[in-house]
Symmetry: C2
């Protein structure tokens, strides 16, 4: 009998997830159908790009992320009464969770708006850092009003120094704000090959879903259930976009999609209380950011585009390069170069002091190791890397973390 009651309780607890899952399936099919119907409107509105890695020069509609973003929002809007309506009937009043849900949706909706405005109006580079900060304001405000929990558990080896936990106060908010800025831009700079933005996002989303499902049986199951409410419709609508964005792309996703996705990930990480774990699912993006940093911060000259070069004769993508005089580099640039050469992370040709090297992106690095590749193969390898590092993330999260924390 006890087992029956328990099974019944579990069933009731997770019933909203089932509804959310079914709604996500419907959202997938509707979105997948909507995209081809609406894409001509984007071309008419001057929102299109020419695919640089194709022999044709067809106009490919750009910024379709706004469509999946809206589909995601509508799905979650319709879902709101499911968990909260049933709580009401039971007489509880789940205000805290409702506040979180609304703040999360507000931040995501705001980021979608700002991302689309950026795609249409082509805002400046500094805005790209400012916009996610603005959009994460409601989230941080609610975190402040709702929890204001800024205490972190200290890893075991440092407990003699700092004690069991430390209240880092304002720095916790700085961390959360930076997480939003990082997530929104991380996907944006690992981009430029058909299907890569959507592909990596699906892998990250599915990783989070798996992590949430594992943790559903733990003490923080409510936070992980909360995360699933977002991640299931997100995964569904993004899969619908991937279908049309995969090689050869019939649509491009735009900054809109990267911003929207990054903010969605940041939101579930922050309100799901796994804002450290979530970074583990971004290992390739963190690597790509660190590897790109010397060019992003101009220690090493950075051309306007760092996409791989299309060789139309063999239908393969090749490394794109940057050319500069070694003597023009500053000290930091020279140190970075030495490190990268040491770890064989760079292609290096020098003649009379003039250097030719690959542009510092993960995409070029893959081409450096695998040679010129067909675009579909290149993106498959990159997605494969993302999947492998999800495995690494779980290995770090579960067996290794017990060395540093009591789990």
């Amino acid at each position: 009998m006890a087992v029956d009651v328990e099974a019944n309780t579990t069933w009731k607890m997770h019933f909203p997830i089932l509804i959310n899952f079914l709604m996500s399936i419907v959202a997938y099919f509707l979105t997948a159908r909507l995209i081809p119907g609406i894409k001509e409107k984007f071309i008419k509105a001057n929102l299109f790009g020419i695919d640089m890695s194709k022999t044709t020069s067809d106009k490919v509609p750009e910024s379709l992320g706004v469509v999946t973003g809206c589909a995601f929002l509508i799905t979650t809007f319709l879902f709101i009464p499911v968990p909260f309506g049933s709580s009401l009937i039971q007489g509880e009043y789940p205000h805290e969770q409702l506040v979180e849900l609304l703040a999360a949706l507000l931040s995501i909706c705001c980021m979608l708006l700002l991302g689309f405005a950026d795609d249409v109006l082509d805002l400046r580079w500094r805005h790209k850092l400012l916009l996610p900060t603005i959009a994460s304001l409601p989230l941080l405000m609610v975190y402040y009003v709702n929890f204001n929990a800024t205490t972190i558990v200290v890893p075991k080896p440092f407990r003699d120094l700092f004690g069991f936990s430390v209240d880092i106060g304002i720095f916790y908010y700085v961390y959360m704000g930076m997480l939003a800025v990082f997530c929104t831009n991380a996907i944006n700079i690992l981009a430029g090959v058909n299907g890569l933005e959507t592909g990596q996002s699906v892998v990250i989303a599915v990783s989070i879903v798996v992590f949430n499902i594992v943790e559903l049986s733990g003490p923080l199951w409510k936070a992980h259930q909360f995360s699933l409410y977002f991640m299931l419709p997100y995964t569904a609508t993004t899969l619908a976009l991937l279908k049309h964005n995969w090689y050869p792309s019939r649509v491009f996703v735009g900054d809109t999609f990267c911003y929207f996705s990054g903010m969605t990930f940041a939101v579930v990480g922050i309100l799901g209380h796994f804002s450290k774990t979530i970074l583990l699912f971004f290992i390739p993006q963190v690597f790509n950011f660190l590897y790109s940093a010397p060019q992003l911060f101009r220690f090493i000259p950075c051309p306007r585009h760092r996409l791989p070069k299309f060789n139309s004769k063999i239908d393969r993508l090749e490394i794109s390069t940057t050319v500069f005089k070694y003597s023009d580099l500053n000290v930091l640039g020279k140190i970075v170069i030495k490190l990268f050469k040491l770890f064989k992370l760079i292609k290096w040709q020098e003649k009379d002091g003039v250097v030719v090297t690959n542009n510092l992106t993960l995409i070029n690095l893959v081409l450096l190791y695998f040679g010129p590749l067909h675009e579909a193969k290149l993106v498959s390898i990159l997605i494969g890397i993302q999947v492998v590092f999800t495995g690494v993330a779980f290995a770090i999260r579960y067996p290794l973390a017990s060395v540093f924390y009591d789990l």
Copy 2:
């Protein structure tokens, strides 16, 4: 002493409004400065119009409503901690108000996104009715979760029939949804003359502000304080837009602005619990809608544009007309025409069964009575009408309503 305590309490109660007011003033100046700086980006993005009522054919940037909408959102985001932070210190937990605030902002943000998407992508007419319904979902969901109060007080003369109050259930939600659809479209169809959209919106907003301030001393002061939190920044940012949108317009506001404004009005009406009173501030819009209805629903032929005609020789706007055969009208069309002729609401020229009549808009009706007008004068008269009917609204709300309700 008692007076001192009371004064002190009142001061504390309304302190957030003062902060909100000061933030709104800052928002006004920042927005007024931002608009000229950013408007070139709109032209580059193909978002511009040619002013049909000018002799020049300069490109005028369109959809600047997205800028003031974002300025409004950022101001309210930054304002969130003010009322809630201080409540927290006092030990109360104002979850209900925070839920409302977030739902309101989510609906407004969503409408801004959809409005901008409409301006950029030029969505179909049926979407114009669907979009506000989608955007008002979070609001209605929260209304359901938070109150689900669907009881209305019956006016005195009908109390013998229906009792003191009636629970109209689902119809209350239908009413609120329709209010959102009406408000978003009402401003959109009373438009097309420099400064009219922003001008009428400022008058409506100021009317609501005055109404809220009067009601601050009443029993529902919390709801009216809530409304002010939105209306003050809205008025400030819209005044900044009006500055650049007034004759001769340097910028156009776009559907974005009309949608954003309408949803903001609907939101404060619904969550401020004055969803009937707010309609009183829309008398010219309601009249314009009813007057336009025969053309909108095609009882009478409707040309693509119904704007007044610009006569460049005398720099005046004249009535624009539609031409049709009287015998082509259906029964409804003929009845409407008879009514309009009876009340002298229409210009009518008939020859051999072919009819020339003015397009059925309030703007054309004003031109019918005042003769051809300079654009600045026309818009001044229209704004003047809006102001006069605000006076009528207050006359109905206060002295007359006491006949029907116990106030």
